[in-house]
Symmetry: C2
Subunit: 251 residues, 2 copies
């Protein structure tokens, strides 16, 4: 399908093209830009709230969290997985409005703003695809708001797991309802607006009901149907299968 390529950005371009094919020139222009790959240590701050950025960050593998400071502590407000463009907004904003933090065994790709901006200038189709991608991001944030505001603990946990399983599958990181989640319970609890203790107990409840199993950092969904039922999970907010409405257009 796709020509062999050495660009680390392949993973992201593939993701975009699963939605809408890009014109070949746009695709090759994207993959031709210099991209630096690096393995981040756990808890490494890739971008810091309040600072200016001059790179866009893409996740190549692993997990990365979005965090905001409030009252002196960092709160997780989102999770990025392989194939996610986690700070396209930095292209247009002067300062980061939140931080990006890597977790264990995460590799990231950095591309200078100048290169991305140039691409947007020359390839309208790419700019559209990037815009589309950020709109899906926004949709996920909306669902998180809903999840935290209106579901109770057990359902909240179930929803997070279902979301991650679905996103990871779409990205072909995993094929089963089973994945590695290298975040501590304390971090996951914070991301869901729960205390550590209560998160732990809710997770224990899901385990006892035979809906979820965990071994170390591996999470396995044993009964997807039951989980979906419990949390009223509707994956359409992830916009995984939605192609661009207006057919792909020339540059």
């Amino acid at each position: 399908m796709t020509a062999a390529s050495n660009s680390p950005l392949q993973i992201y371009v593939d993701k975009l093209e699963r939605r809408t094919p890009l014109p070949p020139e746009a695709r090759s222009a994207f993959m031709a830009i210099p991209a630096s790959v690096s393995v981040a240590e756990s808890q490494a701050v890739i971008a810091r709230e309040g600072q200016e950025a001059n790179h866009c960050v893409f996740v190549s593998s692993g997990f990365l969290t979005r965090q905001k400071h409030v009252n002196g502590s960092r709160k997780i407000i989102g999770i990025g997985i392989a194939g996610d463009a986690v700070d396209l907004q930095s292209l247009w904003f002067g300062k980061q409005d939140h931080s990006l933090v890597a977790h264990r065994r995460t590799t990231i790709i950095a591309v200078t703003h100048a290169h991305v901006a140039k691409l947007c200038e020359t390839h309208r189709s790419l700019m559209k695809a990037l815009w589309h991608d950020t709109l899906i991001d926004a949709s996920i944030f909306r669902e998180w708001t809903l999840n935290i505001a209106h579901r109770r603990a057990r359902a909240r946990v179930a929803h997070l797991f279902l979301e991650l399983a679905t996103r990871l599958k779409a990205q072909a990181v995993t094929s089963e309802d089973r994945f590695e989640l290298p975040l501590t319970q304390s971090e996951l609890a914070g991301a869901l607006g729960l205390s550590l203790v209560h998160f732990n107990k809710s997770l224990a409840a899901l385990r006892e009901q035979g809906q979820v199993a965990t071994q170390g950092r591996i999470v396995e969904l044993l009964n997807r149907r039951a989980l979906e039922e419990e949390t009223a999970f509707d994956p359409s907010y992830l916009h995984i299968e939605t192609p661009l409405k207006s057919a792909s257009c020339a540059d």
Copy 2:
């Protein structure tokens, strides 16, 4: 400053240009597209979750909420005010992932997707400005997630009021820390992930502390400093003063 114009989109173009000036051709092309203005009745559904849309909606005056269905009831996940483009995402998504509902005395502007898409094709600067606008939206959703997940009731209410006051001021809907908020307490409570009763009591507490006054649908912030302190309000997530980083560029 701006030439006299009859386009109802003036209000939105002005907002965009407060961030970055548009090339004159782009501006006039935008304002030249057919836009239909209508006064919505209270609770009118402007766009329905799950349905396809073929118009983009802008708020001309009043309030509009974003809502999602879950377990049979509608939950508010966002509030749009005058000058907001509330469903640019429908341009690229096949189906609405949430509904848009008008509140009393709200006037909306509808523009067909075809016209907006055409504009994006011909004016790169406009597409950028629209993209930028949706990124700010996403930033607001992130802050809502944070607010609901990590602040307790009184602070949550304070945060919402401060956000609205700040956005309304930026849009020159109001000049004081005082504004009309035509949502019921039940609706506001839902938007904050609180029960009606607890919202009411939290609001009463803010009133007793002399931080907020309400008369009918009018909300007045009596002590902005104290409110900001209580809720650790940092308006930077609203990106009100941030111009586009890369200087305005030609089409």
